[in-house]
Subunit: 223 residues, 2 copies
């Protein structure tokens, strides 16, 4: 085991936490809510975003930071849907950190934005380790991935405030045990709030949008 | 952008390549074929392994290194199926590197083994960057993840020798365009060999087992 690796990592994480706190302060000052959206490749991050933008865009000004290792496929879709979007290329890195998020927020321009989504790189491991300064961490577990994922990637479930169980319409096909998935996630994090959804059919998005409205009202109380 | 991060990474990768070459030499000396099995969380790595062990265990002695961030769920299943198994905990790291693989191979004991599978951490990003000394890199793309994944995680498709398209029985449900997925993967890597399979139904495993038999025959020619 190369212990040097871990030392480097700890130092990186400390520097990251300082920058995350600074992002958080800038967001609060501006009255903007930042949501860090995480999940495996193909869990449905972009489709969930498109549903949420459709549900909330009449009431709130929404920005999106699209993080991707390399491609530009998602920024256009999100922008067409009515959000202000910036595509970030991580250049091979497997997660977003606070410094990259700060760059993204600057490029986006916070003025006038009520809500910003950061669509993180598709990965259940590393994004969980890096605080980017978000108010809410929202993770997606998709049904075809299996109900055992909280056993295998516990940190992601531990750090997340919201857990979306996406592609819920396919649960019978994949013998997915929803109750088992939830109780495994709650063993990591008793406070995690769970929303079964289907970005394909739209099921579950009213409840989720209501939850985000409540968080937004808390961030920017109506006069 | 913090350029320090990239320097650290380059140095790590150089050290890794030296250790990977040493693993490769030890494996060749012993006549053992090492396959690095990679894919997203829930792509079906363990189920694919169980099918391959069942198909090959009468002809070959098989070992498995099960890499997981934290859990032991898979080592028991693989061991029950008839392979010699070692569970490796990466302690939060999101990939296996050559040093951890060397430790795993030593714990497993190469003597008498024809074939070793390394089941990597579920992640389409970082495992692609680290050569562990494997003879073959076998990646799994599962149908529910979507046919656009080679656009988003190109390095994984570039470095892999074999691409398994798993859960192929669900292609109609997910509007998965197999030809599009293959042509996007081939744009990254024209030599990648593609096997549509279903670990659930067993479809496609005869062809895949035949491909591995050919690789094994090359590694250890019959007298």
């Amino acid at each position: 085991m190369n212990y040097k690796i871990l030392d480097v990592k700890e130092q990186l994480l400390e520097e990251n936490d300082i920058l995350a706190a600074s992002n958080r302060k800038a967001l609060q000052r501006n009255g903007t809510l930042l949501i860090n959206l995480m999940g495996s490749p193909g869990a449905g991050k972009t489709s969930v975003l498109l549903r949420l933008i459709a549900a909330l865009k009449e009431e709130y000004k929404i920005g999106v930071l699209e993080a991707d290792v390399d491609s530009d496929v998602d920024a256009k879709a999100v922008s067409d849907a009515g959000a202000k979007a910036v595509q970030l290329h991580t250049g091979g890195l497997c997660h977003m950190d606070a410094a990259m998020t700060a760059q993204g927020l600057e490029a986006l321009g916070l003025a006038g934005l009520d809500l910003v989504f950061l669509e993180n790189v598709g990965n259940l491991v590393c994004p969980a380790e890096f605080d980017v300064g978000a108010d809410l961490r929202m993770m997606i577990l998709s049904v075809p991935e299996g109900d055992d994922k909280p056993l295998k990637y516990p940190l992601m479930f531990t750090v997340s405030d919201l857990m979306l169980v996406n592609k819920i319409d396919t649960a019978p096909i994949f013998d997915f045990d929803f109750e088992a998935a939830v109780s495994r996630a709650r063993a990591c994090n008793p406070k995690i709030r769970v929303f079964p959804v289907s970005a394909k059919t739209g099921a579950g998005f009213e409840d989720l949008a209501a939850c985000l409205r409540a968080a937004l009202a808390e961030r920017r109380p109506k006069p």
